[in-house]
């Protein structure tokens, strides 16, 4: 029997779910900044949108279910940049941990 490929984790149309959260959640400053950076990378051809979606689809299911929209964007971007050899994952992890440890102010600008 032909093996049926697994359903993509993002392919959730029609699956049971809960009441739709309606409260307005304003975009955080870093989220706006991250989206802008995502747009710049995409416009420069560093990656394309389909590659990005494919990277998100590779998230482990349990992680995907708990994930927040903006964190998925950041993670997908990071995964793709690592895959393309543009950044080193170990360095990213180390620097992220360092920032968390130091508690840099949110409005840190380059």
């Amino acid at each position: 029997m032909r093996e049926v490929p697994e359903r993509l984790i993002t392919d959730i149309g029609g699956l049971p779910s809960e009441a739709i959260p309606q409260e307005e959640v304003p975009q955080l400053f870093w989220e706006k900044h991250m989206i802008a950076m995502f747009n710049v990378l995409w416009s420069k051809g560093i990656f394309n949108l389909d590659e990005f979606r494919r990277a998100v689809e590779a998230t482990p299911l349990e992680e995907y279910k708990k994930s927040r929209f903006y964190d998925r964007r950041t993670d997908g971007m990071a995964d793709l940049l690592v895959e393309k050899g543009i950044i080193d994952r170990a360095e990213l992890t180390a620097r992220t941990q360092e920032i968390l440890r130091q508690g840099l102010p949110h409005h840190a600008n380059p």
Binding site: P26, N39, Y70, L92, G103
Partner: protein
């Protein structure tokens, strides 16, 4: 154009951060990762801080009001309406709106058909026209349920239609981005184009509200 960079972070309880005793905000792993990523990309010369800032400003200019202007113009100008229904991107550009999406398809609501937009697979939305979508639009609950039980979903938002009105759901799963063109409310003949635009909220443009009834503009 106003930038809200300088006021402090405001978290309401709807956010997933734990409550803080003082006014310090919590640095999340997601934000820390972003800060690290940006620093590394700038160091490597892949992007510059200026490029990101410029794009941030461009993105800030995109708001639902841009879509509302198109709707209002189409209500008063039948020829513009025809052009808009034929090519949403060109019609936006005609009004001086900078749009980056490849194609924007405008879908007209009629007395027989009410249209609703969703992206079940991710969160496709005409962002360069309207700005970021609302949290409910990108929620997994909406993405899952809108295609299967659109009437129940719309009812949660206070919208109901009789059974002889066709509810047509558009799953934005490929290359098109959609803008819903709502019907002009009755009794608005005396309003100016600007006043008409103010009747059209963000949620009207995805089919989750009707003009003039949603005060959350």
């Amino acid at each position: 154009m106003n930038h809200d960079h300088d006021h402090g972070h405001e978290h309401d309880d709807a956010h997933e951060h734990p409550a803080q005793e003082d006014n310090d905000v919590v640095l999340t792993p997601g934000e820390a990762k972003f800060i690290a990523l940006r620093a590394m990309l700038i160091e490597k010369g892949i992007i510059t801080g200026e490029e990101v800032r410029r794009r941030l400003e461009f993105n800030d200019a995109a708001t639902p009001h841009q879509g509302a202007r198109m709707v209002a113009r189409a209500w008063v100008d039948p020829e513009y309406k025809m052009r808009m229904l034929a090519d949403g991107k060109k019609a936006a550009i005609e009004l001086g709106i900078d749009v980056l999406e490849a194609e924007i398809m405008v879908i007209e609501n009629t007395i027989n058909i009410h249209n609703l937009v969703v992206c079940t697979l991710c969160s496709c939305y005409p962002r360069s026209l309207l700005g970021e979508p609302p949290a409910w639009y990108v929620s997994k609950a909406y993405r899952s349920r809108a295609v299967r039980e659109p009437r129940a979903v719309m009812q949660e938002f206070g919208l109901t239609f009789s059974s002889d009105v066709e509810v047509r759901v558009h799953d934005s799963n490929a290359d098109l981005r959609y803008l819903i063109f709502p019907m002009r409310p009755a009794g608005t003949e005396e309003l100016s184009e600007n006043e008409l635009a103010n009747l059209v909220s963000r949620d009207c443009l995805v089919g989750m509200a009707l003009p003039g009834t949603n005060l959350n503009l």
